[in-house]
């Protein structure tokens, strides 16, 4: 069976060229970039080249790029690194309720260490309100961390405006751009970004590699201690194959940015339009226009997300959902809930995230099988049609006690 991959926000296949480069630096050119002999020097060269390629993707300079093991580490380093290094200036951090867990759980950790964190709410489209941000700023605020684009609903945040305000107030601005980097044009200077997290595997580089952009002059403490790599910002033998792959993927992403975003946007809009026409009792999640080019997110009422995913999977289509069942947690997506959605509707969400290898035929096929699956699941649903919820007897409250 042909398999169609519609889950590019979860991860992406590594670009063939980037993978070939990674392979080369695993086998033939395998030196430790810190070694002074020829094996080491050829690795160092690859690291330097990649640093330039990643810098170019963001409009930064190479010495502002620090390689990490991925988005989660980048987020941890940005938040903890700024918090620890600037403790004397203040202890207040502003972020949003719809950040990735790499930000949220890091902030919760810092709360236990005596920091204060404001989690800004979002509107029904998943967007932070500038007014809320302005009100949240105090003279103790040292960091504003707002994601560039949300991973579930794709909503683009008003990053430029946030950057402007942060700059005005002399507060560092970090953005988790794990979804956006390589998939959406970004210029850190134009947008007043001081720190930016990116992760390779979201734009056709290998897993296990990422980078943190740190504007020159921004004070950040290292959080992983050891051999002084990455100019003392991130200890650990450089992952040269990953770094080389990341550099190549960044180069390709920059080169193809315009073409790719235009193509995905048109596929995305077609899917949104046709689902809206074909299937009743639905809700588009996220912002109607200010969203990632490849992100489609709908809630299908009366349907639960995991069973929808499994049915799609049986048809060869890979997608994702904000349903609790798919995450191994009890609650559905905190993002959908923060947008004001009920649990019921959140459980029935379906996220389709398109990538450069997807074709119109993939979309045809998806639009053919989806309505049928939804109908079948609704026919099976006690929530749909006549019934409504009948008598109680609800042992589910017990569930809340379990933690996974």
């Amino acid at each position: 069976m042909k398999r169609i991959y519609f889950d590019h926000s979860a991860t992406t296949p590594v670009d063939r060229e980037a993978a070939a480069l990674a392979l080369e630096y695993m086998t033939d050119k395998f030196g430790n970039a810190s070694s002074i002999h020829s094996f080491g020097r050829e690795s160092r060269k690859a690291v330097d080249a990649a640093r330039e390629q990643v810098a170019a993707l963001l409009g930064a300079t190479p010495n502002e790029i620090f390689f990490t093991s991925g988005g989660t580490e980048g987020d941890n380093l940005a938040i903890k690194g700024v918090a620890f290094a600037n403790r004397k200036k203040g202890n207040h951090i502003i972020t949003s309720a719809i950040e990735h867990h790499a930000i949220l759980h890091t902030c919760e950790y810092l709360e236990k260490q005596g920091y204060e964190v404001t989690y800004l709410p979002v509107d029904e489209y998943g967007m932070v309100r500038i007014e809320d941000l302005k009100k949240a700023i105090t003279d103790k605020t040292i960091l504003i961390s707002i994601m560039f684009a949300n991973n579930e609903v794709g909503t683009l945040q008003p990053v430029k405006e946030i950057g402007r305000i942060a700059r005005e107030k002399g507060i560092y601005f970090h953005t988790d751009a794990v979804q956006a980097a390589g998939n959406y044009p970004i210029d850190v200077n134009e947008l007043n970004i001081d720190l930016l997290t990116l992760s390779g595997h979201k734009f056709h580089a290998p897993k296990g590699i990422g980078a943190l952009y740190i504007r020159r002059g921004v004070k950040v403490d290292e959080i992983q201690h050891g051999g002084g790599h990455e100019r003392n910002m991130r200890a650990g033998t450089e992952n040269v194959p990953g770094i080389a792959g990341l550099g190549k993927a960044a180069e390709i992403a920059k080169r193809d940015m315009e073409k790719k975003t235009a193509r995905l946007r048109s596929m995305r809009d077609r899917i949104i339009r046709e689902i809206t026409e074909k299937i009743p009792h639905i809700k588009l999640n996220g912002h109607p226009t200010e969203r990632m080019p490849g992100n489609v997110n709908f809630s299908f009422l009366y349907v639960e997300g995991e069973s929808l995913l499994l049915n799609l999977d049986l048809k060869g289509i890979a997608a994702s959902s904000g349903s609790a069942c798919t995450s191994g947690s009890l609650d559905p997506s905190h993002v959908l809930l923060a947008m004001g959605m009920t649990h019921e509707v959140a459980h029935g969400s379906l996220r389709v995230t398109l990538g450069r290898d997807n074709t119109d035929e993939d979309v045809d096929y998806f639009l053919e099988v989806l309505p049928e699956i939804i109908s079948r699941l609704r026919a099976m649903s006690p929530l749909f049609g006549a019934g409504g919820t009948a008598r109680a007897g609800n042992p589910c409250s017990e569930c809340q006690a379990h933690s996974h």
Binding site: E304, E306, L310, C325, H343, M380, R391, A392, C396, H404
Partner: protein, 124 residues
């Protein structure tokens, strides 16, 4: 993550639907948790389950356990049916992922609710 048997029941669920003249209906779960199961019973005078159908909103495990429990009780007496536990349903499916054991494995509870409903209605 799911066994073949679970996937079989999920893909081709047995006894989906409603029974118009059901004399016992039970429902457990709620939409907040992401799982709701409703079981319809048609029980005869000898307390034998003549027909059983279900409607379920929930994940793969929820649908498969619902389907399985209906297969397990059809033609059984109520006494026998009351002895079926959620655990037994999971075992009949060749096991469930640990994370699903507590949250989505409620089909036997729904069955028992339906039997209780039947008994109450009969004034037993």
């Amino acid at each position: 993550m799911y066994t073949e048997k679970v996937m079989d029941h999920f893909t081709n669920p047995r006894n989906v639907g409603e029974i118009a003249d059901a004399n016992g209906i039970g429902e457990v779960g709620n939409a907040k948790c992401g799982d709701i199961m409703r079981i319809y019973l048609k029980v005869d005078d000898k307390d034998i389950i003549q027909d059983v159908k279900f409607k379920t909103f929930g994940c793969g495990a929820a649908i498969a356990t619902s389907s399985m429990v209906t297969e397990m009780v059809k033609g059984k007496s109520l006494t026998e049916a009351l002895e079926i536990s959620n655990q037994a349903v999971a075992e009949a499916l060749g096991g469930l992922p640990p994370v699903k054991m507590h949250c989505s494995n409620l089909a036997a509870d729904a069955l028992h609710e339906a039997i209780k409903d039947y008994m109450e209605k009969k004034g037993k």
